[in-house]
Symmetry: C2
Subunit: 113 residues, 2 copies
DNA sequence: ACTCATCAGTAGGTTAGCTAGCTATCGGCT
DNA sequence: AGCCGATAGCTAGCTAACCTACTGATGAGT
């Protein structure tokens, strides 16, 4: 599939990578960080986050490791070098995409219907 | 489904509405206008455009009418009042979404792995 | 006559996010 | 001790939407 196609729906992956850029986090923490960063706009359910993280891990963009904190198992994800590289590209792609969409959406006076 | 969910993948509808805000166009022209506006970033196939336009028409956001130009049948779509209203909301939603994503994607110095 | 661009549409597949459900641990409460 | 809510992780299956690939028609150019 074309890379542009991903842009139409694949923003989540980029956001996850960006969230993990600041440092490794486990799934639940990623979820909360995103919710906080997005001001409830990105209040994503676990069914969205966990598969996405696994997807990114499978793609080699994240490195997931089990750890036990207080007897509770946690899978902590860290950005890999490939993930960091991907993020740079995604960032540029997002800027490009956002700029284009914004310019197309420039408000024109809506003519009376 | 939540409205926010649409934002993750439903940008196309908004772009189509915005393209038609300047004036009624037929499907093929919409495709070209979008391609031109997007500088090849939105080089969408007919299989994407036509169903989308029909979807928007079914939703009452567009008004489609057959016309014959040079013996060729054309379906010309015009923005309805509802579509115009929807576009205003989408525009605000996009600004909101774009701002949030951009802020999350703020480039931090990628620490050495 | 043949080819190409224009114009419209559909069928079917893939992806990804969502809903809904599950397991398990810890801490606080009764 | 037993229960419940919050934390933490995972999966199955649905749906929406976008894409690929196709059909079919007309008109213009060669």
């Amino acid at each position: 599939m074309k890379a542009e196609a991903q842009l139409l729906k694949g923003h989540l992956d980029t956001l996850l990578l960006a969230t993990l850029e600041a440092g490794p986090l486990h799934g639940y923490a990623v979820m909360e960080a995103l919710r906080q960063a997005g001001g409830s706009r990105f209040d994503l359910p676990t069914g969205t986050i966990y598969p996405a993280l696994r997807r990114l891990e499978a793609a080699g963009l994240l490195d997931g490791n089990w750890s036990v904190v207080g007897g509770r198992k946690r899978r902590t994800y860290a950005l890999t070098a490939a993930g960091c590289h991907k993020l740079s590209g995604d960032r540029a792609a997002w800027r490009d995409f956002a700029t284009t969409v914004t310019s197309i959406l420039q408000a024109r006076p809506c003519p009376a219907t």
